[in-house]
């Protein structure tokens, strides 16, 4: 159970405070409601590139890291399809430095052509290293492009191609900054041994005078219902052939989210789960298996994936997956399976409430979702998932003509 107070500045900045009396450390999390989902198809990878630029200094503070270190602090950031997140931890006494720095770079970023060019090469290098030169590195590029046709989840955070990053202009960057890096598009959350009133005062002091901006929500095209089986097969320099099958499911706030999360756990949560027990241990078809949901804000994907044992053919592997999906649909989940999954969610939720950094991030995240109370309400949602719902959802989701299958063959295997 996380206690919190919420406050909104006149310019639209949402501020949330959690008082943790035991911690000597405080965490400040600033979330911008902008991710790869807000990008245009011809300018992808932008939200992530911009995150890099946020560390390149402002006119007033040319070196961002130095004042953080002086304040005994540490900071970092990440970008995903839905949002961009900046976080800092420091002793509670020095917390004002975080407000000073974050409010400063929300408006005063000093973007020059040379900084932009330098950051572009860093990001293109990251593209090459993580998406092109890694075994299975391009699987998300391929899978997203197949499963989505119009929704911007069609591309990963890094972007559709390095060319989009190469082509980013100063004007693009400035426009992006002006549009999305505004108080009304951000959520600030603080967790630490600090009175909420003090947090709100500091927020007024440092962010209150900033122009709120008027960020109308982007019109995101919704993905039409898929009506044909899609398939993509490629050969790469990988040690084992990998099969991935994806299905469309509901968004983060839908009942589907909880049911599907439970289903992935029944399939692949640990060595007692169905896929591991039957397909790895008993039938020895796969050397590894996994199942997960993307968990995106808009309707996301339900994924089953596995790497085949040498000599097992793709058809056998795929049919084994389909067989497991049909079992989820036709045979009710046992009480023991469901109880195990609930125990795990409860444990993971409580383990996640142990430190201030996680709490500050979660507060911003649930506020972005538009339902902050959910931060303490999800266990109840999970408890409502029963055998009937699992089977209904499995029957509805797992249809061949709504599936996207990606096969990555090893060089010697096809």
């Amino acid at each position: 159970m996380i206690d919190y107070s919420e406050y909104r500045l006149a310019n639209g900045l949402t501020v949330i405070a959690n008082r943790d009396r035991l911690s000597q450390l405080a965490a400040v999390n600033l979330l911008y409601r902008v991710g790869a989902r807000n990008e245009e198809p011809v300018r992808t990878g932008f939200a992530h590139l911009f995150e890099h630029l946020m560390f390149r200094g402002t006119e007033r503070v040319p070196d961002f890291d130095m004042p953080v270190q002086i304040a005994c602090g540490e900071n970092n950031a990440f970008t995903n399809n839905d949002y961009t997140d900046y976080y800092m931890t420091m002793p509670k006494a020095n917390i004002e430095t975080a407000f000073w720095l974050e409010s400063d770079r929300m408006t005063g970023l000093d973007i020059t052509l040379s900084k932009l060019e330098a950051e572009k090469s860093v990001v293109i290098e990251e593209y090459n290293q993580r998406y092109l030169n890694q075994p299975y590195g391009d699987q998300w590029l391929l899978l997203r492009d197949m499963a989505y046709k119009v929704h911007p989840y069609r591309w990963p955070t890094i972007g559709l191609t390095p060319d989009h990053i190469r082509n980013a202009s100063m004007a693009d960057v400035q426009a992006f900054y002006k549009r999305y890096y505004r108080p009304s598009n951000a959520v600030l959350a603080v967790s630490g041994d600090i009175e909420p009133e003090r947090v709100f005062e500091l927020a007024e002091k440092w962010f209150g005078e900033l122009d709120g901006g008027n960020v109308a929500a982007d019109e995101i095209p919704s993905e039409p219902v898929q009506t044909e089986a899609r398939r993509c097969e490629v050969t790469r320099d990988v040690p084992a052939t990998q099969i991935t099958i994806a299905f469309h499911m509901g968004g983060r706030l839908s009942a589907d989210y909880y049911t599907c999360d439970v289903m992935t756990d029944m399939l692949a949560g640990g060595t007692s789960a169905r896929l591991y027990r039957r397909l790895v241990k008993e039938r020895r078809l796969f050397c590894s298996v996994n199942s997960y949901i993307t968990g995106d804000m808009d309707p996301g994907l339900f994924v089953l994936t596995g790497q085949l044992m040498p000599g097992v053919d793709v058809h056998t592997g795929e049919e084994a997956f389909w067989n497991e999906m049909m079992l989820l649909c036709n045979e009710p989940a046992t009480d023991e399976e469901l109880q195990k999954v609930r125990n795990k969610f409860e444990a993971n939720m409580l383990y996640g409430e142990l430190n201030v950094m996680n709490k500050a991030l979660n507060l911003s995240y649930y506020s972005m979702l538009g339902n902050l109370a959910l931060i303490n309400g999800e266990l109840k949602m999970y408890r409502q998932v029963d055998a009937a719902r699992v089977s209904e959802t499995a029957c509805r989701l797992f249809r061949r003509d709504e599936s996207s299958t990606l096969v990555i063959y090893g060089k010697d295997e096809k």
Partner: protein, 430 residues
């Protein structure tokens, strides 16, 4: 609450290093068999963590790889449960089990929802008190570990670490020794059982519990400890004196980079100069922006990263600077590391730089302490080193107080070039 005066955005708001970082003292309970149970209650979190700490690290083994094989096979089956049953039952309760091992200690940790504490400790009994080390699981473990070690030994960095230990302690010293991967094939179930029986005993153990603790939890742990064999701590024979050589290299013709280690044997954390030398090591290479990073990365572009640190062992300690550089820069990189240690011996650290290092070090301590489990980790380390939790406030106090003169004096005393060992693993012969 609306504030009409604009804040001064041109200067950083005042900062302070916390003048005191205080950790709660653990409540100590004397349990059966003389085992001490240290409790750090943090009510309200709904979770409990228990760590069983044994003097059973790799420096205690007579047979190569025996200590880590013992620790890593504890949960592979008991006289009543298979490894699969143990894993599934832990999974069912959402409980988490982990083993870590270093040269001196083995730590067996359980984390669970407080409402499933009894069930989790039931499994802890199987794992800690009744492991049978099935032959098949042990062989699988040995094959995998041999494979991993073989792959690791294809990397320059891993070899540099091993060669450095051999070069500063001697190849036969418990802290210096490394063994061929083939020795995994010779490791027997009997070796592991013998190591378990002599080291996983009450005489060799302490326990740290944190989180939502109540009396019944303490009783449950007490019952487990009452069933633990008493054992005999005995007197451990003294270690041989370290036998250091001034340089060593290992050719690696195909490598793109060379791994470099420069350092020397020092002393354990209980030595009065340890904390001071930690500050020296931090100035040199303890953070992003340190002297080594500026010299080797930013000015010369030899490397992505360079580090230095003081490492604490139960009966010793060492200082090391480490980096991996493009092969053709090897010779100059070693020279630059020595330029930087010489600079520490000859020029006082500017107050501004030292103050930044102080703040970074104190910030690190606070981050490690974030949350009840962080506090438990630090408590374990303090007990291992013979301290109670007041150690953290004296650490912070000393870091806050340290002067440029003291840094100069320590660097001069300990980092003279002829006292340092240099190790290079890479394509270029020096």
């Amino acid at each position: 609450m609306k504030n009409s005066i604009s804040p001064d955005r041109n200067v950083q708001p005042a900062v302070s290093i916390p003048d005191r970082v205080e950790l709660p003292l653990a409540e100590v309970h004397n349990m059966a068999g003389g085992v001490k149970l240290y409790c750090l209650p943090a009510p309200g979190y709904g979770v409990v963590r228990v760590s069983f700490v044994f003097r059973a690290g790799s420096s205690w083994q007579d047979v190569p790889f025996c200590a880590s094989a013992t620790a890593n096979n504890l949960a592979e089956g008991s006289s009543t449960m298979t490894s699969q049953q143990i894993a599934e039952t832990l999974d069912y309760y959402g409980s988490y089990f982990d083993v870590s091992i270093d040269r001196d200690w083995s730590v067996v940790t359980f984390v669970c929802l407080s409402k499933f504490f009894g069930q989790t400790m039931g499994l802890a009994r199987e794992i800690v008190l009744d492991p049978i080390f099935p032959e098949e699981e042990l062989r699988t473990y040995c094959d995998k570990s041999k494979q991993t070690l073989t792959i690791n030994r294809m990397k320059v960095d891993f070899n540099a670490r091993e060669l450095f230990s051999r070069s500063i302690y001697g190849a036969a010293h418990p802290y210096g020794v490394s063994s061929p991967a083939e020795r995994y094939d010779d490791l027997t179930r009997e070796d592991v059982r013998r190591f378990y029986a002599s080291h996983y005993t009450a005489a060799n153990c302490f326990v740290v519990m944190s989180g939502d603790i109540d009396e019944s939890h303490i009783r449950t742990v007490g019952e487990l400890l009452a069933a633990m064999p008493t054992g005999d701590a005995g007197e451990r024979p003294a270690f041989p004196e370290p036998c250091s050589i001034s340089s060593a290299e290992m050719p690696f013709p195909d490598a793109v980079q060379s791994a470099i280690r420069v350092g020397r044997v020092m002393f354990p954390r209980s030595h009065p100069d340890f904390i001071g030398m930690q500050v020296v090591a931090s100035v040199l290479g303890g953070y992003f922006g340190s002297r080594l990073v500026r010299n080797l990365r930013e000015e010369r572009g030899y490397t992505y990263g360079a580090y230095s640190a003081m490492v604490n062992l139960d009966r010793s300690g060492y200082f090391a600077a480490a980096t991996e550089v493009g092969a053709r820069f090897t010779e100059d990189a070693v020279a630059q590391i020595l330029v930087e240690t010489e600079r520490l011996r000859n020029e006082p650290v500017p107050e501004e730089e030292l103050s930044l290092v102080r703040n970074i070090m104190v910030g690190e301590v606070l981050r490690i302490l974030d949350g009840p489990f962080g506090v438990a980790d630090v408590t374990i380390e303090n007990i291992q080193n013979g301290f109670d939790n007041t150690y953290i406030s004296s650490f912070v106090e000393e870091v806050r107080r340290i002067t440029p003169e003291r840094i100069l004096e320590l660097a001069d005393r300990y980092l003279a070039p002829d006292a340092l060992t240099t190790v290079v693993v890479g394509p270029q012969q020096m």
